[in-house]
């Protein structure tokens, strides 16, 4: 009956293994496709967390639009494989060291029993029936979060104009 933990372990394993593939694979096209695997398994986890609309957005926006952009540039520019995959010498050592420090700190925070405030985490809340539905998200997005939403549209406009200007310019 306990389907949810099995799905969690499955999606988590796929996500971690594919993520390791993204950063250690030599061929950039394989890296991009493995990143799609990470994004799709995260979308499965979003469904487990009652965030159906976000899961759909993840597939459409990330795995669809953003990854197509990546692959398009990848094919367009015809990158040769890097001569060596990793940075040489000390940079690599320090990179792994600092990443290990980040991991220790994050795990410390996640596993600290009191959640930092001495109160402990409240038990999972009971959810309203429409939790995570597009209607519920739209309702708070267009009321409580209206100004951030409008500012985001300006941000996207700036990004579009900036991308066109940057890609068109002829550098001497």
């Amino acid at each position: 009956m306990a389907l949810e933990p099995i799905l969690f372990v499955f999606f988590a394993t796929v996500a971690i293994l594919s993520a390791l593939g993204v950063i250690f694979h030599r061929n950039p096209v394989h890296c991009a496709l493995l990143l799609v695997a990470v994004l799709l398994s995260l979308s499965g986890l979003f469904v487990l967390l009652n965030a159906q609309f976000i899961a759909a957005l993840q597939v459409i926006v990330y795995a669809g639009a953003i990854m197509v952009l990546f692959l398009f540039v990848l094919m367009l520019l015809n990158f040769r494989g890097e001569s060596s995959v990793l940075s040489p010498g000390a940079a690599k050592g320090f990179g792994f060291l600092f990443a290990l420090l980040v991991l220790v700190e994050l795990l410390w925070t996640a596993l600290s029993p009191n959640g930092g405030e001495g109160g402990g985490m409240a038990p999972p809340a009971t959810l309203p029936a429409d939790f995570g539905s597009p209607a519920a998200i739209g309702r708070i997005l267009y009321t409580t979060w209206l100004y951030p939403f409008e500012i985001t549209s300006i941000l996207l406009l700036v990004a579009v104009i900036g991308a066109v200007v940057l890609a068109k310019r002829k550098f001497a």
């Binding site: 950063i23 950039p28 965030a51 953003i66 520019l77 600092f98 409240a122």
Partner: protein, 104 residues
């Protein structure tokens, strides 16, 4: 299903591991494109954390934050890849160690 069959801390640990993998990618890879992908990995780890906390607290504000993170990620990828194309035209490389135009 109202109860959380998988505890919140499991999602947080997974998010921490994915974020760390992204950090490793940014720090040790030399191709600018792979570095962008690692940044996407980190953004997605944070999104997972947002959604898990949102589920725990029964509030949908976390979903809204994920929405905005996705918009910012889309803008970042568009600008970043445009810069990458511009650099590639000038230097014929995407290796971050060879791009030092601002160094005197």
């Amino acid at each position: 299903m109202q109860t959380l069959a998988v505890p919140l801390v499991a999602y947080q640990i997974l998010a921490a591991v994915l974020f760390t993998i992204g950090v490793v990618g940014v720090l040790v890879r030399r191709s600018a494109l792979i570095i962008f992908m690692s940044v996407e990995l980190m953004l997605n780890a944070v999104n997972l954390s947002f959604v898990a906390f949102s589920r725990q607290h029964g509030s949908m504000d976390g979903h809204i934050f994920v929405f905005f993170v996705m918009a910012v990620a889309a803008a970042e990828v568009a600008i970043g890849l445009a810069i990458l194309v511009a650099i590639f035209r000038k230097k014929e490389t995407a290796n971050v160690d060879e791009v030092h135009l601002l160094k005197g």
